[in-house]
């Protein structure tokens, strides 16, 4: 579909699509903004958590008596303080077990006890006085090793689901998934060339600069308040209330400004513990994770092992595609392997496709979502093989992908048929982009890859109140992780026809607004945005009704235009237009406060596609890779605030660069994390990178009034393979394991030299 031919793109947007300053900007550049660890309360105690030094151990006995007697210690909690109130909800039980170990410690860093004391030193000393009797057990941290018969078993309640016959013995394989259609065996028979490869990726962390932090305050009447940095304060409220046996209405959670999340703050880790401590001590308790704890005890993403087999004809048409994905998600079920499997071949138009996924547990921290969970690893594997195939049939990577790309009407690899999608436009635009024509220097190579993410909607609630001066107060329930408040104000201003700076958005606390799902799935601009638009339209109905009242005419004889109520036609009456301010000023006399609401479960999110291009330079002596040039082309549906859309493209691409080149969880033989700090868990720094060029395409999503598609996650999907393809072109070696750190590249170069 050509880019500019649709209804939505024809709409003449007044403010949507511009780049005004964000409403929370001044606070953020002056240090005034309050993040998770910035709150204090009178009488506040410091909470600290004791964590298992063992990767796998039975906890035979916990003795907290000495710690409780230490002067200044006001509360100590252990598993005894967390009775099981999960009522058969297996996923919630896993959360309970994760936030405080029960009969076993399942990973190094697993919480085993916690104290609240008058200051940090006393809390630290108290932890040292807690005596734990561990029976150390054999551990396993590698996904393939965990699947082998004879591997140490973490849970004797796990019997692999999705296999026939059902196993009689427990194992570490939670579930088998299978997606696809057609007949891959028949498809491979039709292929002239088949490439089959195995890939491994190591676990990475979202790497948000702000550690988890919260301030809990539970009173003697059992009513609680919680200040927390989170991607979903309603989720925190409901989860903590259920775990602690509190009525949801008794817990009020306020979302602080959040210093990064990327999916890692869509669950709870320290919050139930802080609340339990506060309830026991009857005083506010602040708990802040150290960076060491963040790496060891929050939610990194899965490490994976992936087999990919793809067959093509000599003419370059894929005849069959088959993948087996093994993902470990830490000590509890729920690695994102099903999304990996579903998204593996999503970019391609395939007659015969199959993706099998295995969810595996290991003695590592329980994984949490990380930007397009499960997809980047799968794309790394597939896009590497695609590149190899393209070269084998004598086509460029981009032409091969264009030839096999999914488009509107294609049956996706995960099942449903695609509506209008933006993959081909990104590929065709990439082909014309100057980056493709730029000359390459010595030791440099160019790579490209495609990526896909689902995006989705979720429960959303927005309240829009018109103040008596005609300005607007907008309350949303999705924490602002990327500048979304600015976009919400743009959409409200667009609908109401008033200037952007007359709208002010806040993230309301859980007692002030109905339920909102977490900020994830790239859903905020889509779902909260759509709710904002509909709440504004609801407010407009009320504003026009008030104008009708003021003029003494029927409400349907009034229209709304550019911030003014106007008679609908000459027959309605010859009244001068009433501004929003004029109507609002009379609100008290015409029926009371004027507000618009929208509460719903948003659906109809549009999938989004991206193509990335990268030039990399590999130093043959050190194996170090330098990213020389990087371009992101992605379909945003409609870019409400283009600067923040570009920011998402760039941020996701750079996380992918770190994942591809340097970042990894390194475990010792003892099952302990060796690099739990930013020195040795090396994320990209400013001097590692060039400018990240961005191209925003707009293929409108029919499910949103402005055509918005989520943008936050897709940009982390292509980089791993883009860079693998660039490194392969630059150094002449193809790496099949991530990260492609210098020692690995050197080793590959040495092997290549030895073979020659």
């Amino acid at each position: 579909m050509p880019l500019d031919s649709t209804q939505q793109n024809k709409r003449d947007f007044k403010v949507v699509g511009t780049r005004p300053l964000r409403p929370d900007g001044i606070d953020k550049v002056t240090g005034r903004a309050k993040f998770g660890a910035d709150a204090t309360a009178p009488g506040m105690l410091v909470g600290r958590i004791l964590r298992s030094p063992h990767a796998h151990a039975r906890i035979k006995k916990i003795d907290t008596s000495k710690a409780e007697k230490l002067a200044g210690v006001k509360a100590v909690v252990t598993r005894a303080d967390f009775p099981d109130k999960t009522d058969g909800d297996a996923a919630l039980y896993d959360v309970l077990y994760n936030i405080m170990a029960r009969d076993k410690a399942l990973y190094e860093g697993h919480a085993v006890a916690a104290v609240a004391a008058v200051d940090a030193r006393t809390a630290r000393d108290a932890l040292k006085l807690i005596k734990i009797d561990y029976e150390v057990l054999p551990h396993v941290t590698d996904v393939d090793a965990a699947m082998k018969p004879g591997a140490p078993v973490l849970h004797n309640t796990i019997f692999t689901d999705g296999v026939e016959p059902k196993p009689k013995k427990p194992s570490n394989i939670v579930r088998r998934y299978e997606f696809g259609h057609g007949d891959v065996e028949a498809g491979f028979k039709k292929a002239d060339i088949i490439v089959e490869r195995t890939f491994k990726t190591e676990a990475t962390h979202q790497g948000y600069i702000e550690p988890h932090a919260c301030l809990a305050n539970v009173g003697p009447d059992g009513q609680g308040e919680l200040w927390v940095c989170t991607q979903g304060h309603f989720m925190v409220r409901d989860t903590c209330a259920r775990l602690l046996g509190m009525d949801i209405s008794k817990l009020r959670v306020t979302a602080s400004e959040i210093g990064g999340g990327f999916g890692g703050k869509t669950t709870v880790f320290i919050e139930p513990v802080a609340l339990a401590l506060s309830r026991k001590a009857n005083r506010p308790v602040k708990v802040v994770m150290s960076r060491d704890e963040v790496f060891k005890a929050s939610g990194p993403t899965a490490s994976t092992s992936i087999d990919v087999k793809i067959g093509v004809t000599k003419a370059g048409r894929i005849t069959a595609a088959d993948a087996t994905l093994r993902y470990q998600g830490g000590a509890f079920a729920g690695s994102p392997v099903e999304f990996g499997a579903m998204s593996t071949f999503a970019c391609y138009d395939l007659e015969n496709v199959r993706a099998i996924g295995y969810d595996v547990v290991t003695n590592r921290p329980k994984q949490a979502a990380y930007r397009a969970p499960g997809a980047p690893m799968a794309a790394f594997a597939v896009e590497s093989v695609i590149e190899e195939l393209a070269h084998k049939v004598g086509m460029t990577g981009i032409d091969f992908r264009i030839k096999n790309a999914a488009r509107e009407g294609t049956k996706s690899s995960y099942g449903p048929t695609y509506g209008p999608i933006g993959l081909l436009p990104t590929l065709e635009r990439a082909k014309q982009h100057p980056h493709f024509q730029a000359p390459l220097g010595p030791n440099q190579g160019r790579g490209m890859a495609c990526g896909f993410w689902f995006n989705f909607g979720g429960q959303t609630c927005v309240s829009l109140n018109v103040n008596i001066d005609g300005t607007v107060a907008l309350s949303v329930g999705t924490p602002d992780i990327g500048g979304s408040r600015a976009s919400m104000c743009l959409m409200a201003a667009e609908e109401l026809g008033i200037p952007y700076d007359k709208v002010r958005a806040i993230v309301a606390d859980t007692s002030s607004l109905g339920y909102n799902d977490v900020t994830d799935g790239s859903r905020t601009t889509f779902a909260t945005g759509m709710a904002t638009i509909l709440a504004a339209r609801d407010a407009i109905k009320k504003l026009t009704a008030r104008a009708a009242q003021i003029w003494g005419i029927e409400p349907d004889a009034v229209t709304w235009e550019k911030g003014y109520a106007k008679p609908a036609g000459a027959n309605a009456g010859n009244f001068p237009p009433l501004s929003i301010a004029e109507i609002a000023a009379q609100a008290g006399a015409t029926g009371g406060p004027i507000a618009g609401h929208h509460e719903y479960s948003a659906d109809g999110a549009g999938v989004s596609f991206a193509t990335h291009i990268c030039d990399a330079e590999v130093d043959p002596e050190t194996g170090a890779t330098k990213i020389v040039r990087y371009t992101v082309l992605q379909d945003a549906g409609k870019a409400v605030h283009p600067s923040y859309v570009e920011g998402q493209f760039q941020g996701g691409a750079v996380q992918g660069i770190g994942w591809a080149l340097n970042e990894e969880y390194i475990y010792g033989k003892d099952g302990r994390l060796q690099n739990a700090g930013f020195l040795d868990y090396r994320i990209p720094v400013c001097s590692d990178l060039p400018m990240i060029d961005t191209v925003i395409l707009e293929i409108p999503n029919p499910g949103h009034p402005y055509g918005v598609r989520g943008v936050g996650e897709t940009s982390i999907v292509p980089p791993l393979a883009t860079i693998a393809n660039a490194v392969s072109a630059a150094a002449g070696v193809r790496l099949t394991s991530l990260p492609m750190s210098p020692p690995k590249i050197l080793a590959a170069l040495d092997r290549k030299a030895a073979a020659e």
């Binding site: 780049r19 300053l21 964000r22 929370d24 900007g25 001044i26 953020k28 550049v29 002056t30 240090g31 005034r32 903004a33 309050k34 993040f35 660890a37 910035d38 030193r121 979202q206 790497g207 948000y208 600069i209 702000e210 550690p211 400004e257 959040i258 210093g259 990064g260 999340g261 990327f262 802040v288 150290s290 960076r291 992780i481 990327g482 500048g483 600067s643 923040y644 570009e646 920011g647 760039q650 941020g651 691409a653 750079v654 996380q655 700090g677 930013f678 020195l679 994320i683 990209p684 720094v685 400013c686 001097s687 990178l689 400018m691 990240i692």
Partner: protein, 158 residues
């Protein structure tokens, strides 16, 4: 552990405090003085979110003891604006959308200001190396570098 009486200047104001011998300057700023602009991202001097200047020199306040600040002049993010008037760097960060979550922003602004005070006409590479001690996970640094170069140009014209 004995307490130490410290007398220092912070953002031009004379400040006195009492702290423990092993307390970091970062802890003092945040917990005793209420200056929460500097953030603890790692506690080991690897992320730069706690950046301050001590006698004009860019420093990680998590690696300095509160007691060591005695007799020095400390510059924090809270002192960057001049009343209502934002520093050009602060303005340019907003114009260029050089922040997303904003947690690294105070540290990066302090580092950028220190950089431009030493080198008013940096190249892009010099800006990138000047900020290499400040981790940002949201932006990919692109808009940050543009904002700093733009602010440097404006400051040179003034």
């Amino acid at each position: 552990m004995s307490n130490i009486h410290v007398r220092t200047k912070i953002n031009g104001d004379v400040v006195e405090y009492v702290c423990e011998a092993d307390e970091t300057l970062l802890d003092v700023l945040r917990n005793r003085l209420g200056l929460t602009g500097a953030k603890e991202g790692c506690g080991t001097g690897d992320c730069g979110a706690c950046s301050v200047t001590i006698d004009g020199r860019l420093t990680c306040s998590c690696l300095v003891l509160g007691a060591e600040a005695d007799g020095s002049e400390i510059g924090t993010i809270e002192g960057m604006a001049n009343g209502e008037q934002l520093h050009p760097l602060q303005r340019k960060f907003l114009e260029h959308a050089a922040l997303q979550c904003g947690i690294c922003t105070p540290g990066i602004l302090v580092a950028a200001k220190a950089l431009l005070e030493h080198n008013p006409k940096p190249t892009e590479t010099e800006v990138r190396f000047g900020l290499a001690g400040n981790l940002c996970r949201c932006t990919g640094y692109d808009k940050i570098v543009r904002a700093v170069m733009d602010a440097a140009q404006e400051m040179r014209r003034a």
